[in-house]
Structure formats: C-alpha cells, structure tokens
Symmetry: C2
Subunit: 326 residues, 2 copies
C-alpha cells in the first residue's frame, strides 16, 4: 500500500485545482431544515466541473504527471464520473486520455466523456474485467493509470471538499454533528473525512451505500475488507464497487466512519426532494445521503448535518421516470 495521504496533501491539492475546479458553495437548505427540524447544509458537487466531484481528484493527479510521460497518455476505468473528470483534466493539460467504461453506463456520462475528447473502450460489466482491460492498455502504451479511488493523489483531490466545507461552516459560525457522504470506492469519503476532522475533531462520518453494495459498511463493521455481489442491480451506477480500496478502507477505519445503506425507492424519493426543495439535479448515486436522511436512518441526536451530494449526471429519461414515482 502506498503512503496514506495527509491533510497537508489535501491542502496542496487545493492549490493545484484552484482556478480549474469550481469552488462549490455550501448551501443552507432552509425548506428541508424546517421540514425535518434539523440544520441541513448541502455541498452540491453536481455543480462541479463535469457534473461530479471526480474532477478534483483527477486534476490533482494528472497535473503531477511529469512532462516526459504526458505524450504516452492516461488510462482510467470508470462507470462515468471519474471518466469525465479524467477526460476533462487530460484535455486541459494536453494529455491523451483513454477510458474503459461499462457499455451500459448512462448516456449522459458517455457523451460527456466523448465531448472532452477522450477515447472510450467499452466492456461488459457482467462478463469482462475492466481492470484487466485497462492494465493491458497501459502496459502496451506505457500510459499512466489513473485509479478512481485507491490512490493518494486522488484521495487528496477529493478531500478538498472537506477543506471547503470546514472553511464555509467556520465562516457561518457553525459546527457539524455529522457529515454524510456517498460511498463507492471510498475516495470521496476518506479524503473529505480526513480534511473535515482536522477542523471538527468530533464530527461523525457516515458513508451511505446502495443496498446489496454495502461492502464498505460491512467491512467497517467486521474489521476486514468484504466483497459485494456485483451481479446485483442498483439505480446507483456510480457506487457499484465490489470492495473497499486498501487505502480508503484504512483511512475510513482510522476515522471511525460508519456505514449504512439505502434502497432504490429511497434514492428515488431523495431525487424528487432535491428537485422540489433544493432545485438541484442529483443522480442516484449522488442522492444517497439525502435518501438516508429522509428514510429516518440518521441518528436523531445529530442536529447539524452536512450532506455531500456528489454528482448530477443522470439521463433525462431516468430522471423523468423517478420524478413520476416520487
């Protein structure tokens, strides 16, 4: 395992991404706070460049590739948000990018990746191994692999969210009881948790996963890395990782993070609430913190909450269907 990232690494990442990433706001959710009788703050990462937080880690990683290695390009495997983050960062830095994506990824994510000029290699999520395809491509082309979560630079980049939350809450004179984060591979949660804890030493960290993909929650409870059954289905295309990363698991465990999971129906309800009460387009995987809150799964003693809504790359057709049901 590489050296785990530190708060200093996250601060360095913040310097690197400044001016390229959007400095997203921290929004007090007046309507939801009144409805639920809590103080609810939203970190809206669908407003980030490429429509999800993933640009942060990707740009932090790619901007450190030595000049001599740039012409060989980068390769990443991703369900679509990391893909767009890597593709956008690569284009800015003049690096060729190749992305290995599942052929059933949301159209909006495929289109977004293409529009950034990246090459795409499609694979079948149920029969092929994306990592094998990616590693083989990297070896053949001497390309740099850009991991989607288990990498100190990626984690440090995502961790800039935690710095921003801490700065904005301090400015508002607030201290959070709990930060609630979507969790796939754990890059967002471990980086953000690390940065936030530096400012708020006693804040609770809660990771939310889709039902049947709660490998992180299980691992945190059992004390060893568990694996989910990836043949299951979930609305949350961004969170279908089979197992926690080594580094992201070690960090989240050291931080004492807790895990819980939500159903597709709970996710759909949260997307409708975000539409009505936040005026934000949230993709299924980005909505899981709100889903957990609305489903009554967050400890009632936590009065001041921060919900990181991590992305908004959802196809119009699916969004319409879910809006009907909610």
């Amino acid at each position: 395992m590489s050296k785990l990232p530190t708060v200093a690494d996250i601060e360095a990442a913040a310097q690197r991404i400044a001016g390229q990433a959007i400095r997203t706001p921290l929004l007090y959710a007046h309507a939801l706070s009144a409805q639920l009788d809590r103080h609810i703050w939203i970190k809206p990462e669908m407003l980030q460049r490429t429509g999800s937080f993933k640009f942060r880690g990707a740009f932090n990683k790619l901007s450190q590739i030595p000049q001599a290695k740039k012409p060989n390009g980068v390769v990443a495997w991703s369900s679509g948000n990391h893909a767009q983050g890597v593709a956008a960062a690569a284009r800015i830095l003049g690096i060729p990018a190749t992305i290995v994506m599942p052929k059933d990824a949301p159209k909006i994510k495929i289109k977004g990746t293409r529009s950034q000029g990246a090459d795409i290699i499609f694979f079948d999520r149920y029969t092929e191994d994306r990592e094998e395809i990616g590693r083989e491509f990297a070896a053949r082309n001497s390309a740099t692999i850009v991991p989607s979560y288990d990498d100190p630079d990626i984690i440090a980049g995502q961790g800039t969210i935690g710095l921003e939350i801490a700065r904005d809450l301090a400015e508002a004179g607030q201290s959070p009881d709990e930060i609630i984060l979507p969790c796939g591979g754990g890059g967002l949660s471990s980086g953000t948790g690390l940065a936030a804890r530096a400012s708020f030493p006693s804040v609770d960290l809660t990771l939310v996963e889709p039902e049947d993909f709660d490998d992180f929650g299980k691992s945190l409870r059992s004390g060893e890395r568990e694996t989910a059954d990836v043949t299951k289905k979930s609305l949350c295309d961004a969170l279908l990782t089979p197992t926690p990363g080594e580094m992201t698991y070690a960090l989240n465990r050291a931080l004492g993070a807790n895990g819980l999971s939500v159903s597709d129906a709970e996710v759909a309800r949260a997307m409708g609430a975000a539409f009505r009460d936040l005026k934000l387009v949230v993709e299924p995987g980005g909505a899981v913190p709100l889903a957990a809150l609305l489903a009554g799964k967050i400890d009632a003693r936590s009065r001041t909450l921060v919900l990181v809504l991590s992305g908004g790359n959802v196809d119009p057709q699916l969004f319409r269907d879910l809006l009907t049901e909610s």
Copy 2:
C-alpha cells in the same frame, strides 16, 4: 412616483438580508461555455431561499416595517415567487401575511406559500383584478402592501444580486460584456442593472420576456410604457405582467437596457439544457436568459456573459413534460 433607489440603497439592503438570504454563488458554466464558445457565468437564484430571488426584496422591505405596524400584517399579490418571498420574510419577522394569488398558479408555489404560514386569497387571472382585491384587503385591515416590483425597497433588495455578481467577477478577474436577465415587472433587472453598472460602467443589459408579454421591450423601444395582452398564454407564469412599473421602467430606460423575447419552445429547450449542462432546476420564467442565448438572440460580440436564472419553482409534472420535448 417615489424616489428612485440608488446604489447606496442596494448596499444597505445587502446588509439587511445578510444571514437571512442565501449568498448564491456565481458559477462558471464550463460545458456551455465550451459548446457556445463564449464565457458564460450563471447566477443561480433558484438556490435562493424560497427557490427564487424574490426573498431578497421581500425581506429588505418587510424588515423596515415599523414595530407598531407589524400586527396589522402585510398583503401582496403575486403569481407565486413574490408570494413565497413575502411569506418567508413575514414568518421570520413575526408578521401575519396574506397573499392574493391566481388560482392557476403552479402547485409548488401555492404549497410553498402555505408552508410559510401565509393566508392565500385566490383570484381568476382572466376575470378578476388582483390589485383591487389586495388594496381592498389592505384598506380593511390597515395592512402594509408589499408591491412585487414597483417599490424602491423591493428594487434595492433584488439589486443585491448585482452587487454579488460584481464582487464575484472582480474576484475572478473578469469583466462582463453583457448581463442577461428575466423581466416581468422589472424589479430584478432594474436593481441588478443599477448595481452592476456601478462596477462595470459599459456592460450591456438585456431583459428577456416571453413572446406576447414583451411590454418592457416594446416600451424601451417606443419610449413610453406599453401594455401587453394578458389574455395570451405563456409557460412563464412568473413573467406575465401587463406593463412595466413606473420606477422599473424609468431605471431600465436610464440604464439603456434592451429587451428581447423568447417562445415557449425556446424556454423548454433552455430548461433541458440547464438540467443536462448545469444540473439546475430552472422554472420557465427563470430560464428565459438561457433560452435567448441558445436561440442565437444574443449579440455575438458579447464574449463574457452573465445569465441570471431567477427561480426554480416548477411543478414536477410540467418539468417532466418539458424534459421529454427538449
């Protein structure tokens, strides 16, 4: 006509609303900017408390009502966004609020107004005069009338948007060629224009109205206040004012603002683009600046644009239908 508001009045309004209104961000729209080869900045007022900019003016006005007058309450007439702004400000300040609303207002606006504890008097937009109903109520109850646009405190409150745009652009080292604003009664545009011009003396100001409700554009061209035919229909429920306000017309004329108009189909397309490329829920009346831009109606010489997207209170059913068409 009362005394026209000044930039100093807008600065005083900014002090009054601080801590109550959301300090909305100014977002650089990377995807749209790349697509359209311009620099596009978005002021997302759907993220404002109550889902539209109207809270700014309402709170600025209501917070200046003398203590002795508060128990008599306030009354306002509104299609729904001013209604929610007034109702929320009234609740915060402990003032009873009564709102005269069209019975065909969007359900989300009626619900939002009720949820703030306001009383609602419904009227028929085609057969009844909302102003008469409101004035009669005010006289009977000695209530304070809260105009929706033609009032110096309302205009100054909405003008805080212009101060925020100017501050955020200056921080980013940018200067806008053109600011594009939705226009109903003209409170948003006249206040924002006034504040923005103080920082950017040569910025163009463009007001966008729905087709058939382009009374402001016509008035600015003819040099006198013209009236639209309010029996027509439009998706933009927030912008169906028949004639410019006296003050808002005088200010916009002095600022040299221009008017143009967009069709319902252009509005629907813009709402879809906001969904896909901005991840923001925009209501029809809030989307008209983007509609004008996407329809090719904005001067190609304007390279750096600010679009004020004024609200996001749209019923899910309508949003779904428009997302299908776009």
